[in-house]
Symmetry: C2
Subunit: 414 residues, 2 copies
Amino acid sequence: MPSLNTWISSAHDSDFSIYNLPFGIFSTSDRSPRAGIAIGDEIIDLYRLAGLGLLEDLSVHASIVGQDHLNDFIRLGKKSTTAVRKRVQDWLCRERSPLKRHPELRVKQADARMHLPVRIGDYTDFYSSLEHATNVGKMFRDPENALLPNWKHLPVAYHGRASSIITSGTPVRRPKGQIMPGGADRPVYQPSEKLDFELEMGFIIGRDSELGESVPVKKAADYIFGLVLFNDWSARDIQKWEYVPLGPFLGKNFASSISPWIVTLEALETFKVKGPEPEVPLLPYLKTTGKKNYDIELSVSIHPQGGKEEIICRSNARHLYWNMAQQLAHHTVNGCNVQVGDLMASGTISGPEPDAYGSMLELSWGGSQMIKLSEDQNRTFLEDHDTVILRGRAEKEGIRIGFGEVRTEILPAV
Amino acid sequence: MPSLNTWISSAHDSDFSIYNLPFGIFSTSDRSPRAGIAIGDEIIDLYRLAGLGLLEDLSVHASIVGQDHLNDFIRLGKKSTTAVRKRVQDWLCRERSPLKRHPELRVKQADARMHLPVRIGDYTDFYSSLEHATNVGKMFRDPENALLPNWKHLPVAYHGRASSIITSGTPVRRPKGQIMPGGADRPVYQPSEKLDFELEMGFIIGRDSELGESVPVKKAADYIFGLVLFNDWSARDIQKWEYVPLGPFLGKNFASSISPWIVTLEALETFKVKGPEPEVPLLPYLKTTGKKNYDIELSVSIHPQGGKEEIICRSNARHLYWNMAQQLAHHTVNGCNVQVGDLMASGTISGPEPDAYGSMLELSWGGSQMIKLSEDQNRTFLEDHDTVILRGRAEKEGIRIGFGEVRTEILPAV
């Protein structure tokens, strides 16, 4: 990648470097939600840019980037969205550019509120980390046969709830529900006592497929617009009682949190790496070659009320056993259609080391070990007013592409 | 209910009687999709009705009923939607009415194409028939302990795929996928050999709830706009291999079919009946009193290509162990929000008698018994070019409220 230099100084040591330029939806006190591109600690206002006619030759109109979601913009296709990103990149590097001439095109992130970047039609959660699936299998099933027979043959997944997906900054209320206490003969109704995060990444679908059509692994990248951080909140005690035989439901659907900026697939190109080798022969529709994983460092912190933020997990997206091309090919092999704005999440991304486990369930080994936060703060699961922060960043040869953060405070049950 | 008489003669012996008046979305060769009300073999064109200013005093404008989905109309609230239905009902009974004066307000159903009535945000499938859950448990788990411990304490459910929901008349292509053949040591990729229907009903959410808010059983009816027939297509062989531990995925999400007319809750008022008594004490948030089930006769027919239609199942919605109020209260007890247009399906509605089983899995008892269609036609599961027809009807004291049908042809895999 050629070296780029922008005159926005806050971009030099930022997740939102000149190489990144992710898309999001923001609002300000003087205007409703609209599309923007993050750079350093600022946002380029695409609605105003289009309003000045500066995207007209790319057929990107203010009516598209003035909406409160990116779906219609993404639906224009990568040719258009890439052209917008390249133009902004170019103008951010040139000393004489409309972005300098028109200061109203730039908004301080501190003055903006971020919104969900897309209207999510369907949300699917995979279960693609070998380490996570193995840890859970060891705890809840059989330590000697932790993985179920299908796990290495297909990327296991289930459908989640789209309506309760929120973005960074929106608090989550501790859910109530049915729980079967150990040794009891009937369930009780109470707030969850085992509220947990799950460190995941998600990808946003960038192109519709038709019902009855399958997306082959080789074409998967055409259907992926970009990536976000994803926190799949889980109430382990509710989940445990409800989940047989049809899978997770109320233990998950009270909320899921995504990062507000969608980092495009093209921005991440430099960070492609080979994933783990399949441990069993795969059916042809799931075979991939070359670099299909992404080297993205991930972390989770807990900031207790009145306390100090502590990192409790460091993982990496490169650990994922199943890659996005395999996930999408599998999801559509039966003809299931995908639509622009759909979200596909990875499942908890745990690494091989105990401090790389992506959930408190694993970090506390089912609640049996304390997770040390600071001198006087320990956790097995989350407490009220804890703030959980997910971060993700790829860095190589002076190029940094970050995801910002997903920050969520836990509110007490009512 | 007072006796009503309409001058539309085709309504007298019809699912779409003067007492019914369900809402749907239809198009004609001369105009794009818009809202309508079914009466007999005709449709009242609500877009043209609003265009003449005849709904203006109800604040129902052509821009709302001229859309290709009912969501924004439903969002006006029951006060508005009920008023529209009552006005149409009144005018269909009066000899001097705008519906007679303006023949362009009435469209023959034969000249119209039906569309999905709502844009479905999220779709949830329950598992609320005791008979169905027991049958499946006997076949796949333990005949002596067919039900899992949670089943009688909560209405088990899982999230399904909204993007692949289609309406009557849209064919379904036989899905392909991973299947583990009996005795094999690795899966194969092939078309499903155990393609099945599931006879269900679904309800459409009529009012948004807030994230963090719970809908109590007593208020559930305020959030339910109406009901549809629902066919939850299932590929049993794909499902069997994939579904542990996170539930059904590709075995279901290739398609689900709903009937195009939404029968309002108020139209069904006469057919309320008491449901089965709970067999274990329920937590207070799930306790209901009075008539919460609906006496709706259901049937499934198979029409083989070149053959004759045969009814293979007769069931009734009154059999459901968990009612809609319980389903909705449970779904939101953890604060999960629901939105106008969401679909909640009942799960397969099986009755106690073997000819009331609502799936071929049960009718053929896992493929071990032939389902006889006619002299030379037998089935265990569906064959290519079979057409499956679901029908539903409530009838009492001369009042008939029907759902029409969901008719779907199975196309061969490609």
